[in-house]
């Protein structure tokens, strides 16, 4: 008869060969491989300080006849540590979900039991098929000040553990990030980018439960983000982009009144509209032909040397700062 035996990592395990006497002659195998007699005490198999690699099928055969007398599947593992539990409402006001995981694996099967109590009422959290460690619950009441108490118990053959989360209806509201974020240049506008997005599809009623949005953007070459908070609408025009620079843009959402901000959306990239390159070819060519030995200071010919956004000063004294650098470099060379 084969059965499963669960033991803790580090434990000492003694296996009896079924009903065989202690002094019977037996052979033990682990996953089909004979086990050395040094591990035997009579007909008992002694495994000291077991580790995970010793999980497997152990069989005991009668000495001369090689009849199988006993078989067990040894699973070495650990009792569960305190599970990590999270509850969130991304579909307010329909309901919320809770998901959980163990901080470290136990290496043996675990079962989870979740209980949700609202005041004195026990609610049923329906387990999702996918993902496995998740369940969802429909709100029976809205605008309640009474807190929810969620207790998750995890049990395996070697022990059990639990954790409890207490929260109110408003505190766990966190929408999914906005979807379909699109950023486009604006024709003839070198400093503008038009950004649009959609409400997350999981948010059931944006008309009665409107979302507000947070946009962040920066040129790829800089670390600092610019932020804009938008109380309505699902589009925004950035008007202070650095001309010609590629931008990275993200949007987050939050219920207008309650809860917390969503994670940032998928990032989109966009570069503001620039003039046709042919207008600047003459400039680039002149600069290139006079710079035979200072290539490290020169921008490649296809890149604009100077754009409106990079001007310093004004009027007749306006100087493009990159051109200024180039001039300074030449001056150093010719001193």
């Amino acid at each position: 008869d084969s059965h499963i035996q669960y033991e803790r990592v580090g434990a000492d395990v003694t296996m009896k060969c079924g009903s065989m006497d202690w002094d019977a002659a037996v052979t033990w195998t682990a996953n089909g491989t004979d086990i050395d007699e040094s591990h035997l005490n009579g007909s008992y198999l002694i495994l000291k300080n077991v580790d995970l690699t010793q999980s497997g099928q152990y069989s005991c055969y009668e000495g001369s006849s090689w009849h199988l007398k006993y078989q067990t599947y040894l699973r070495v593992g650990t009792p569960p540590k305190e599970p990590v539990l999270m509850c969130r409402s991304n579909n307010y006001p329909k309901g919320f979900y809770c998901s959980w995981h163990l901080p470290t694996p136990t290496y043996i099967p675990n079962s989870f039991n979740i209980s949700v109590i609202h005041g004195t009422k026990e609610m049923v959290c329906e387990k999702d098929a996918v993902p496995k460690n998740r369940c969802h619950i429909r709100y029976l009441q809205l605008f309640s000040t009474v807190k929810y108490k969620v207790t998750l118990t995890v049990t395996n053959a070697l022990g059990k553990n639990f954790t409890t989360l207490t929260f109110d209806e408003f505190g766990i509201v966190k929408p999914d990030p906005p979807e379909s974020v699109v950023a486009k240049p604006v024709p003839n506008n070198p400093r503008r980018l038009e950004v649009s997005w959609q409400n997350p599809s999981s948010w059931p009623d944006p008309e009665s439960f409107p979302l507000k949005f947070f946009l962040r953007y920066r040129p790829l070459i800089l670390d600092q983000w610019q932020h804009v908070e938008l109380s309505d609408g699902t589009s925004h025009t950035i008007t202070d982009a650095y001309a010609g620079k590629e931008y990275i843009i993200q949007v987050a959402a939050k219920d207008n009144d309650i809860g917390t901000w969503s994670d940032w959306s998928v990032a989109v990239h966009a570069t503001p509209w620039t003039e046709e390159p042919k207008h600047l070819t003459t400039e680039a060519q002149i600069t290139e032909t006079t710079s035979t030995s200072t290539s490290s200071f020169m921008a490649p010919p296809t890149t604009k040397i100077c754009d409106k956004g990079a001007m310093v000063g004004s009027g007749a004294v306006a100087v493009c700062w990159t051109a200024g650098l180039v001039v300074a470099a030449y001056s150093v060379l010719f001193i």
């Binding site: 006001p93 029976l140 009474v146």
Partner: protein, 195 residues
Amino acid sequence: MAGADSPSAALRRRDLCTRGIRLVGKMRSDVIDLLDTYVERQGLDASASVAAVEGVPPAAVERWDEQTGTQRLLENLAAYRAFRVLLAQMLEEQREQLGEADAALGRALASVLLQVSAFAYHLEELLQLESRSPPSEEGDGPPPQPHLSLFEQKLRGLGVLRELAQWAVRSARDLRQLAKPSPGTGSAPGLAESP
């Protein structure tokens, strides 16, 4: 009901709802600030659990999405009329307890009371637009309170403000439901007469 559905009535309703949402948004923000001040000045623990306070209409509601427009207005109006009385009581108690020592708290309470009154009036206007006279206030208000100790008064005040903050969120949602174009056949969330 024909009058209530006329284009001008619909426009007026939307306008009242929009203004009401703004009003209640500002009120909520002020109530949250007032809660912080109240907890501090009254020497309370912000996380103190307060059991349901008698006379305080709970914002919690089942099947909220199935309510008709009229139900929403009536429940909101009953709540804010009750809060008007409760806040006036709190103001009186606060003046008795602290006198002039805490004018700031008194002013904040008075400001919220004013906003609650304004919103109650706003709700009455919305009800009248639905050719529904607002119910009279005679005999309204919370039942007379047994004499409470100072500490019990403070805890009750905390419960009142917390429930008011909850109502402010619910009212904004209710008004947004009301502002939605009616489906025309009188089913929720339109402004059909309640059965």
